[in-house]
């Protein structure tokens, strides 16, 4: 356990000065910032009706912008950059001759990736909330200061926390696929290209109303657009599929990394 913590800290040190950390910060700010600009530009269209909590609609539209195309690509790019540090520096051969097991290396890399994604979600939420507050400071009719961001305080099913958890689950499948691809493929652009192709196929299936879209890991984030929670289950079918994909690919990539992959 101690070695895993050391390895995790080392992974954090490696991303110092790298673009991966900037991608998390800038990526988290990107949609909230442009959404805010759009609201400022067309503010009359966004004014809520009297007595209506503005946060619900604000979050719905904002997160639609995040989940449609942007989130899968950001995750793909983040993983590619994170693991490309080792390819670019030619350091796999160095890591694999250090007195630390491959299992710990694998898990510490996964942990750093999940930490960065959680950091992305946290920052994005902070930016969205700040955007709402700024709008109300600018024009009080937006009512963001009168109402609370109710997504936080409603039932577990519709709470913003629950929504974020589901959004995170929606990216797990493609995260596992690209984690595997990223340590196997040295070519950063090929890696990103595969992610881009996956996202384009997902959008095409979405527009074409394909029912089988729920099986495509690249489409899971897209299906979070205008998300309505399942009345009977906590996780919808596409989220369960993303989770299953994650578990299977995670196990396979672990076996590959620890037994076959030589760097």
């Amino acid at each position: 356990m101690n070695e895993l913590i050391i390895s995790y800290r080392v992974e954090f040190k490696k991303i110092k000065n790298s673009f991966a950390i900037w991608l998390v910060v800038l990526g988290a700010a990107f949609i909230p910032f442009f959404f805010l600009l759009n609201i400022i530009y067309q503010w009359k269209d966004y004014l809520p009706h009297a007595g209506v909590n503005p946060w619900n609609e604000y979050f719905r539209k904002g997160f639609n912008g995040v989940h449609f195309f942007f989130l899968p690509l950001l995750i793909v790019l983040l993983i590619a950059l994170l693991l490309n540090i080792e390819h670019k520096s030619n350091t796999w051969k160095h890591i694999f001759v250090l007195p630390i097991s491959k299992t710990k290396i694998f898990f510490s890399k996964y942990l750093i990736l999940i930490s960065l994604i959680l950091m992305f979600y946290t920052l994005m939420l902070i930016f969205f909330l700040s955007g709402g507050l700024l709008l109300s400071l600018w024009k009080s009719e937006f009512n963001f200061l009168i109402f609370k961001p109710t997504y936080f305080y409603h039932s577990v099913e519709s709470g913003i926390g629950s929504f974020m958890v589901k959004s995170f689950i929606s990216v797990l499948g493609l995260m596992a696929i690209h984690f595997w691809l990223s340590f196997r493929l040295k070519n950063l652009f090929l890696n990103i290209g595969i992610g881009l192709a996956g996202a384009v196929i997902a959008v095409s299936m979405f527009i074409g109303h394909w029912e089988s879209i729920i099986y495509l890991p690249y489409a899971s984030p897209l299906l979070m657009c205008n998300f309505i929670p399942d009345a009977h289950r906590y996780l919808s079918d596409f989220l369960i599929n993303s989770l299953i994909c994650f578990v299977i690919i995670f196990i396979l990539s672990y076996i590959d990394f620890t037994r076959i992959f030589k760097g």
Binding site: S7, N17, I85, H94, V97, L98, P99, K262
Partner: protein
């Protein structure tokens, strides 16, 4: 008590192939003694780096033919790697980080004291550049930082693949001195590869010569020097070269170049016999010089399919 002749690296009929058709390494039987500086020589593409990669488990060894510190690598990975420092091909460095941070990453995993970082930086003369990003380093500085990383945990075995690559002549001398000092002061066994004998001839105690995936020679440097005497050419000048040619031509391969006779010697004893034969036949010997027999020539001879039994 530790055995002085303990083998630190041992391979038994090591073979490696990327596909089943072409073997990259064939029957490599390395024997690296404790405390030795073993020079692993061979031209580019001979199989040096592949051997090193197999030794370190970076390429598969299905026959499990590698033993390090008397232990099989597959089952004792962590224990073995605690005792090894390595530098394989070009140094593995995070260029977006400083030299210090690069060392600190390895230090943390190897659980070495923080005090050791400035020590190794001083050792490789990089203290002044420690805080600079590695991307600003010259090739020689990167090589030295790679060496510092390998030395960080004061390993029992250093495996260095072409460690003086990219260094200027002063840098080469400094690294040679450093390696000799580490070997003498700490008893560190050093296994280093090179494609130039002249680069490492002065520091190695043992030599292994590999070409086209086969180990052509393995032994101490003094044994190699003896071997060189067996395969040399003797240049002599006498008061009567014509008669000398007649006397020696029956037993040896003799050619005449200007005022000298060039005789191919098979052994050190041949040299004494030649002189003796000339003296017995009342031929005065003005000059007798061994030519074309430096180690480099021998190395080149071997690697040009000059197989020495």
């Amino acid at each position: 008590m530790k055995n002085a002749n303990e083998l630190i690296i041992e391979t038994q009929n090591l073979e490696f192939c990327f596909n089943s058709k072409q073997k990259i390494l064939r029957n490599i039987n390395l024997r690296v003694d404790k405390g030795s500086i073993y020079g692993f020589l061979g031209p580019n593409g001979a199989g040096k780096t592949t051997t090193i990669r197999v030794l370190l488990g970076l390429l598969s060894d299905p026959e499990n033919s590698v033993q390090l510190f008397g232990m099989k690598l597959r089952r004792n990975r962590s224990e073995i790697f605690t005792r090894i420092g390595s530098l394989i091909e070009q140094p593995s460095l995070y260029e977006h980080l400083s030299g210090y941070d690069n060392l600190d990453i390895t230090r943390a995993i190897r659980k070495v004291s923080k005090k050791r970082v400035p020590e190794v930086l001083e050792l490789v003369k990089l203290s002044n550049a420690a805080k600079k990003k590695v991307s600003t380093y010259s090739l020689g500085m990167k090589q030295r930082l790679g060496l510092a990383i390998a030395l960080l945990a004061e390993p029992d075995l250093l495996i260095l693949d072409e460690p003086v690559n990219g260094l200027d002549p002063n840098g080469i001398v400094e690294i040679r001195d450093l390696l000799t000092r580490i070997n003498k002061e700490s008893g560190t066994t050093i296994f280093l590869s090179s494609h130039l004998l002249s680069e490492i001839e002065k520091i190695v105690t043992h030599i292994g010569i590999i070409n086209m995936g086969e180990l052509l020679y393995q032994g101490t440097i003094s044994e190699l020097r003896e071997l060189k005497a067996y395969k040399s050419e003797l240049s002599i000048e006498t008061n009567d070269n014509q008669r000398a040619l007649e006397v020696l031509g029956q037993k040896y391969q003799v050619s005449r170049i200007a005022n000298d006779l060039i005789i191919t010697c098979e052994s050190k004893e041949n040299v004494a016999q030649i002189i003796h034969d000339l003296v017995v036949n009342n031929i005065d010997v003005y000059k007798a010089v061994i030519v074309n027999n430096d180690l480099e020539q021998l190395f080149l001879g071997m690697t040009n399919n000059y197989v020495v039994k």
